[in-house]
C-alpha cells in the first residue's frame, strides 16, 4: 500500500523499491502498513526484470520511471499488463532503484523522467518485458504438460491447454518460468487489439493519496532522525561569508549549525519548527558577489540588446528573410517577453540521507534516480556500490528535480552528522528563491507582407537565457542551445514548426543572466508558442484575415499540425459567432513529439478577464489511458494559465523577490475554465502528453483577449496589462 515498506529497512529483495499498491481495492484505514508488507512476505517470483508473480496470483510490475503526478506509473503498468495478459485487478507496482539497475547491467535502462518521455521513451521495452514474461510463463506450463506452447491459451493470468482440458495459473508456474530462456522472436500486439492499454482505467497508486498514508519525501520519519533546514546565498552565485552559530546553538532542539558548502548554511535540529526558528534567528553574512545589484530592468536591457545583435544561432532558415524584409511593401513588427517562473510544486524539496563511513543511503524524491545516485556517491565520498537511492513518488516536480543540487546538499549535511538519518527539508521560501527558473526571453518578430497582404517572410529573433548552457553544457553545439527552438524547427519528429513561409529566419541571441534556469514543464515551447501564435494572429489582424483562414493557408504542407487545429476550432464552434460579450482565440504547436492545439473563449468585463472554455486537441500518436490524458491536459492548462495570468519572478538586488504564494500568485479553482479534450491519436508515432499542451493555452487565451478588447498583450504575465477598454 505504501512506500513506507522500504523505510528504513531495505526490503528483502534489495532491489525492490516502493511498495505494492492495490488496484481496485478500497483499502482505507488508520493503520500504517508495516515495513516489509505485501511484497517481501511471500516468496515472490521474478519471471523477468519487469514482472514478478506471487503464488497468490498478485502480479507485480516494476516501474522504472518516476511518478510525480503525471500518471505514467499506471500507463506503464497497463502496457506491461496488456502484453502479459494478466488480470488487471491483481496488478501491483514496485519502483526500481538505481543501484539495482546498475548492478543488473541497466536492465531497466534509463530511469530518468523528463521531456514527456516516461511512456513514449520506454513503451517498446516495457511492452516487450510483459510479452516476454507471458511467453516464458506459457512455455513453463507447456513443458510441465509436455505439450507445445503454441497449443496453449492465456486469459487473465490463467493458462489453458484446450486439447487436454488442462489449466494452470501464472502464480503456479512463475517459479518454473524464471528458468525458461527468454524467447527473442516476440511480436507485440497491434494497439487495435488492446484491452488494458488504451482504456480509461483508474490509477493504481491513488488510495494512499486520499487517506494521508502515502509517505512523501517530506513525511519520512525514522528513529533518531534529525531535521536540517538549509539557507543558501539568495543571490545566485554569491557566497556564505560567515554566520554566528553561538547565537542560536542554545535554542531548544538545535543540534548543529553547519556550513554545508561555499554558499549554504544549515541548522540541524530535532524538528522542523525548531530548526526553522533557529535558522530565522541565525545571523548570516553573505558575500553576494558581482550580481548583488542586478534587477529585472537590467536583465530586460541585456535581453533587449540581443534583439538586434549580430552572430546569432540560426535554428531555422528558408530563403532570405532579411533581404525580403528589406524590400517589402509592408512590414509588421512586434516585441514580446516571457518572465521567470518558479516550478513551485506543492511538495518542496527534501531528501533524507544517512551517512556512515561505510554506506550512504538516500530516501527521497528525484526525477533522475541514476544521476541522484551518482551525486549521492560523489558527495558521500563513497563508491556507488556502497550507496542507494530509495525512489519515492513525488508531490509534483515539473522539472525541478531533474537537478540533484539538493541531493548533494543533503549528503554534505548528513556527512557532518555521521550515523544519524538527516531529513533535509526546504522551506517554501528557500524553494522559491533557490529555484531553477523558467528562463527569461524576449522575441522580436517581423513579417514582410506583399501588396495583397500575403506573408513573404518572417524573422523571429529570440533573445535570452539558455537552460542547457547552465544545466548541460555538454549538449550545447558550437553555435548554441539546440532546444531553444522547440516548436520552431524545420522538421523532425520532435518539435517541428507547422507553417511554411517562402522566407524564414528563426535565430537566437543567447543572453544568460545570473539567475539559474531549468526546464519548467513545457520548457521552451511555452514562450515559443506565445511568440509565434500571437504574432500569426497579429498578421491576420493586420491583413484583415480570419485567424483560422490565415493559418489554413500557411499550414497546408503540415496536415498533422492543421488537423488538431481544425478539431479545436470545430470544438469551440469557430464557424458560428460566440454569444454576445465573448470572443475566441486559437493556437497550435508541435512539441515533445505531439501535435496540439487549443481554442479559448473569454470575456473581458471592466478590465477583468474571464476564461470560460478551452477546447484542446492533441495527437500524441497513441493514447495509453484516455482519462489520464484528459487529466494531464487539463492540469497542464492550469500550470500554463497560472504563468500567463499571474506568474512572474522578478529580480531585485540580485535575488528573486517572490518568496511564497502570497507574492507568486497561482491559479486556483475560481479561475478554472471548462476544459474539453479532443484526443485524436493517429497512430504511427509516440508523442508525449505531460507537456506539449501546456504551450497552447496561453496564446489561445491571449488571442481571444485581443479579439475581445483589441488589446495585444505581449509581455507576460497578463496581470501587468490594463485590459480596460479606453
Amino acid at each position: 500500500m505504501s512506500t513506507i515498506s522500504s523505510l528504513p529497512a531495505v526490503s528483502r529483495r534489495g532491489f525492490l523499491g516502493g511498495g505494492a499498491a492495490m488496484a481496485g481495492a478500497f483499502a482505507f484505514g488508520f493503520s500504517f502498513p508495516l515495513p516489509g508488507r505485501a511484497v517481501a512476505q511471500q516468496a515472490a517470483r521474478e519471471v523477468n526484470a519487469w514482472v514478478v508473480i506471487q503464488p497468490d496470483e498478485t502480479v507485480i510490475i516494476r516501474i522504472a520511471r518516476v511518478e510525480m503526478g503525471q500518471g505514467s506509473l499506471t500507463g506503464l503498468a497497463q502496457l506491461a499488463a496488456e502484453e502479459l495478459d494478466c488480470d488487471w485487478d491483481k496488478v501491483r507496482f514496485e519502483l526500481v532503484k538505481p543501484m539495482a539497475n546498475r548492478s543488473r547491467d541497466k536492465v531497466w535502462k534509463d530511469l530518468s523522467t523528463g521531456g514527456s518521455r516516461a511512456i513514449r521513451g520506454s513503451q517498446d521495452y516495457v511492452r516487450m518485458g510483459g510479452a516476454t514474461a507471458r511467453a516464458m510463463l506459457v512455455e513453463a506450463a507447456a513443458q510441465g504438460w509436455g505439450v507445445p506452447a503454441s497449443e496453449c491459451r492465456v486469459s487473465k493470468g490463467v493458462i489453458s491447454h484446450p486439447a487436454s482440458s488442462r489449466s494452470t495459473t501464472y502464480g503456479a508456474v512463475a517459479g518454473a518460468a524464471n528458468a525458461i530462456i527468454p524467447p527473442t522472436d516476440i511480436t507485440l500486439k497491434d494497439p487495435e487489439d488492446w484491452t488494458i492499454a488504451g482504456q480509461p482505467l483508474k490509477r493504481i497508486d491513488t488510495m494512499d493519496k486520499l487517506n494521508g498514508s502515502l509517505v512523501y519525501g517530506m513525511d519520512i520519519s525514522m528513529p533518531d532522525m534529525l531535521v536540517a533546514i538549509p539557507k543558501a546565498c539568495p543571490v545566485h552565485g554569491g557566497k556564505l561569508k560567515s554566520f554566528d552559530a553561538a547565537a542560536v546553538s542554545g535554542m531548544r532542539g538545535v543540534k548543529h549549525v553547519i556550513k554545508v558548502d561555499d554558499e549554504t548554511v544549515a541548522v540541524v535540529a530535532d524538528t522542523f519548527w525548531r530548526a526553522k526558528t533557529a535558522l530565522d534567528a541565525l545571523p548570516i553574512e553573505w558575500d553576494e558577489g558581482e550580481n548583488a545589484r542586478v534587477s529585472s530592468a537590467d536583465i530586460a536591457k541585456m535581453l533587449r540588446e540581443g534583439l538586434t545583435a549580430d552572430t546569432p544561432y540560426v535554428g531555422n532558415r528558408v530563403g532570405d528573410a532579411k533581404a525580403t524584409l528589406g524590400g517589402a511593401a509592408r512590414v509588421i513588427e512586434a516585441d514580446y517577453s516571457f518572465p521567470y517562473q518558479n516550478h513551485a510544486p506543492m511538495e518542496v524539496l527534501s531528501a533524507t540521507v544517512r551517512w556512515t563511513p561505510e554506506r550512504c543511503e538516500m530516501w527521497g524524491p528525484t526525477q533522475v534516480p541514476d544521476a541522484a545516485l551518482d551525486t549521492l556517491a560523489s558527495a558521500a565520498g563513497l563508491p556507488p556500490e556502497k550507496c542507494e537511492v530509495h525512489v519515492m513518488r513525488i508531490g509534483g516536480s515539473f522539472g525541478r528535480r531533474l537537478f540533484t543540487d539538493y541531493v548533494r546538499m543533503a549528503t554534505l549535511i548528513a556527512k557532518q552528522v555521521p550515523g544519524a538519518p538527516v531529513k533535509m527539508m526546504w522551506t517554501r521560501e528557500e524553494d522559491m528563491v533557490q529555484g531553477r527558473f523558467h528562463p527569461v526571453t524576449q522575441c522580436r518578430l517581423r513579417a514582410a507582407l506583399d501588396a495583397d497582404g500575403e506573408v513573404e517572410a518572417l524573422h523571429m529573433r529570440i533573445s535570452g537565457q539558455s537552460i542547457m548552457a547552465y544545466m548541460r553544457p555538454n549538449i550545447m553545439t558550437e553555435n548554441g542551445d539546440p532546444i531553444m527552438f522547440q516548436g520552431l524547427m524545420p522538421g523532425g519528429a520532435e518539435m517541428a514548426i507547422g507553417y511554411s513561409f517562402p522566407n524564414l529566419l528563426i535565430d537566437h541571441a543567447m543572453r544568460n543572466p545570473h539567475v539559474r534556469p531549468g526546464p519548467w514543464r513545457g520548457v521552451n515551447l511555452n514562450q515559443n508558442a506565445v511568440y509565434l501564435e500571437c504574432f500569426i494572429d497579429e498578421i491576420a489582424a493586420a491583413t484583415g484575415q480570419d485567424p483560422l483562414a490565415l493559418r489554413r493557408k500557411l499550414m497546408k504542407n503540415h496536415p498533422k499540425h492543421l488537423a488538431v487545429l481544425e478539431a479545436a476550432a470545430k470544438g469551440i464552434g469557430w464557424d458560428t459567432p460566440p454569444e454576445k460579450g465573448r470572443a475566441r482565440g486559437l493556437a497550435q504547436i508541435m512539441g515533445f513529439g505531439s501535435y496540439v492545439a487549443a481554442a479559448a473563449e473569454v470575456s473581458v468585463t471592466n478590465g477583468e478577464l474571464r476564461i470560460h472554455r478551452i477546447v484542446a486537441a492533441t495527437n500524441p500518436g497513441y493514447v495509453v489511458n484516455p482519462q489520464q490524458v484528459d487529466a494531464q491536459i487539463s492540469g497542464s492548462f492550469v500550470y500554463g494559465l497560472s504563468a500567463m495570468l499571474h506568474g512572474e519572478c522578478t529580480v531585485k538586488d540580485g535575488r528573486i523577490e517572490q518568496e511564497n504564494f502570497d507574492s507568486y500568485t497561482v491559479m486556483r479553482l475560481d479561475e478554472m475554465p471548462d476544459v474539453e479534450v479532443i484526443s485524436m491519436p493517429s497512430g504511427g508515432f509516440w508523442g508525449g502528453v505531460g507537456e506539449p499542451t501546456i504551450a497552447v493555452a496561453a496564446p489561445a487565451v491571449l488571442n481571444a483577449v485581443f479579439a475581445a478588447t483589441g488589446k495585444r498583450v505581449r509581455n507576460l504575465p497578463l496581470k501587468n496589462a490594463d485590459l480596460n477598454m479606453s
Binding site: G212, F272, A631
Partner: protein, 152 residues
C-alpha cells in the same frame, strides 16, 4: 505541556507556544497526512478540522488551541469508513501527485458539512486550496458528486 484532542484521542505534547498546530500534528503526534505547502495560510495543504471548521494549521500556534476543541485530521476523517468525499475522489480519480489532495478533501468535507448543496459558484469561492498539478476540474466535480451522495 499542551493537551490536544486529535481524532478523538487526547495527546500531550511538550512544545514551544508558537509551534504551529501543523508541526505538532506532523512531528510530535506523528500524523503526516496533513501537509506543509507554504506555511503562510496560502495553499491549504495543511487543512484540518477544528470543531468541524476547515482550518489552516500552519499558522495556528498551539497556544491558541484548547483541549476542548476537537481536531480532526485526514487520518481521523475516514477512519471508520471512507468519507463520501474520499469515495467521490476515488471514483473520479481526482488525485494526480496527491500532495494537495488531503487538504482539498478536508476543505471539501467541511464545506459540505456546512452547505450540503453548494452551487458551482459556492465551490469555486470556498475551495481556495492550491493544486499545482491542476486537478481543479475534477475537484469541482468531486465536491458535487459527494454532495449528491450525502444528500442521498
Amino acid at each position: 505541556m499542551a493537551k490536544l484532542n486529535i481524532n478523538g484521542r487526547i495527546v500531550e505534547v511538550d512544545v514551544e507556544d508558537d509551534t504551529p498546530l501543523l508541526w505538532v500534528i506532523r512531528e510530535h503526534v506523528g500524523l503526516t497526512g496533513t501537509k506543509y505547502g507554504c506555511g503562510v495560510a496560502q495553499c491549504g495543504a495543511c487543512t484540518v478540522h477544528v470543531d468541524g471548521v476547515a482550518t489552516r494549521s500552519c499558522v495556528l500556534p498551539i497556544s491558541a488551541v484548547e483541549e476542548s476543541e476537537k481536531i480532526v485530521t485526514i487520518e481521523g476523517l475516514g477512519a471508520e469508513k471512507p468519507h463520501p468525499v474520499q469515495q467521490a475522489w476515488a471514483e473520479l480519480d481526482v488525485a494526480q501527485c496527491g500532495y494537495c489532495q488531503v487538504g482539498m478533501i478536508m476543505a471539501a468535507s467541511s464545506l459540505l458539512a456546512q452547505n450540503p448543496n453548494p452551487s458551482d459558484a459556492d465551490i469555486r469561492a470556498e475551495m481556495t486550496n492550491i493544486c499545482r498539478c491542476g486537478t481543479y476540474g475534477r475537484v469541482l466535480a468531486g465536491v458535487k458528486l459527494a454532495a449528491e451522495r450525502m444528500r442521498g
